[in-house]
Amino acid sequence: MLDMDFLCLRELLQNHRILLCFNGPISRSLIEEIGFALKNYLEADHARPSATMDVFGAYVELTQNIRHYAASKGYRDTDSAATILVACDEDGAYLIQTGNVVDAADASPLLERIAQLAAMDPIELKHAYKTQLRRPIAHGASSGAGLGLIDIARKARRPLIATQRPLDDGKIFFSLRAIL
């Protein structure tokens, strides 16, 4: 059985100022519970109300995206797992990074989309947001409004960074990093 150096893990988390780290299948209630904990951590960390809302908002959009995506693909167990990390630095900036499994065919369009958003200035991002807001949604669509990534890009201090890593079964581990 695994017997890791637990102090080492604790120091790793502390040294990187990691507020929250989660990996596993994520249910709706778990998103709510972790979100509630995150909000409390941020408030205890004396984050400004707007910073708390930005980090919490990015967390909600990213985790709900992962849930919607896994559900639309009929993923089970490990494929539907989300990896979530929230950390802060001395300047009051917050890092939120999430990762999840995606079909190989979906990875490139997603990376392209994020590269497009990363290249936009605030005015272009606002325009993209308003355009998407006005786009009709297919009736009965269970997923979101396609606004989540644009919303995070608008609130981020730096351009979003997405990465992909191939997995043994041909799928891709997709990861997104936002600094807020």
Partner: protein
């Protein structure tokens, strides 16, 4: 559906009070349900039937805080219904009250107001 209804708020959904006789819809709290379109269907229908069946004014009083983007999308749909009614001469208005310590809420309300020509007041509440 010429009735009034009250939906108590939860951690992820706002409190909604719809009063047909008063012509008043109030919403307050956080809004980030996983499926916002399902959650707001009843409210959207209520606004639509009020505007269709009544010529009286309709007022919205909002104290919404955090909204996920799908809730924002539905809220835009509600404001679009008000905008259409306003253009047909019906009296509609929105008052959005916010805590001045949180400028994000004010920015959110301001972005909605950009697309509306009916009276839309954003008020800091101390």
């Amino acid at each position: 559906m010429s009735t009034s209804f009250t939906l108590p708020g939860t951690q992820t959904t706002p409190t909604i009070v719809a009063d047909w006789n008063e012509g008043l819809l109030q919403m307050s709290g956080d809004s980030y349900p996983e499926n916002s379109f399902d959650f707001f269907t009843g409210t959207l229908d209520w606004v639509e039937s009020f505007l269709k069946r009544e010529r009286r004014p309709l007022r919205l009083e909002l104290r919404l805080l955090y909204m996920n983007t799908s809730s924002v999308k539905v809220m835009m749909d509600i404001f679009d219904l008000l905008e259409d009614a306003h253009k047909l001469g019906q009296e509609v208005s929105v008052v959005w009250r916010f805590d001045p310590r949180n400028e994000r809420v004010e920015l959110l309300a301001e972005e909605f107001r950009e697309d509306c020509t009916f009276p839309f007041h954003i008020c800091a509440e101390v």
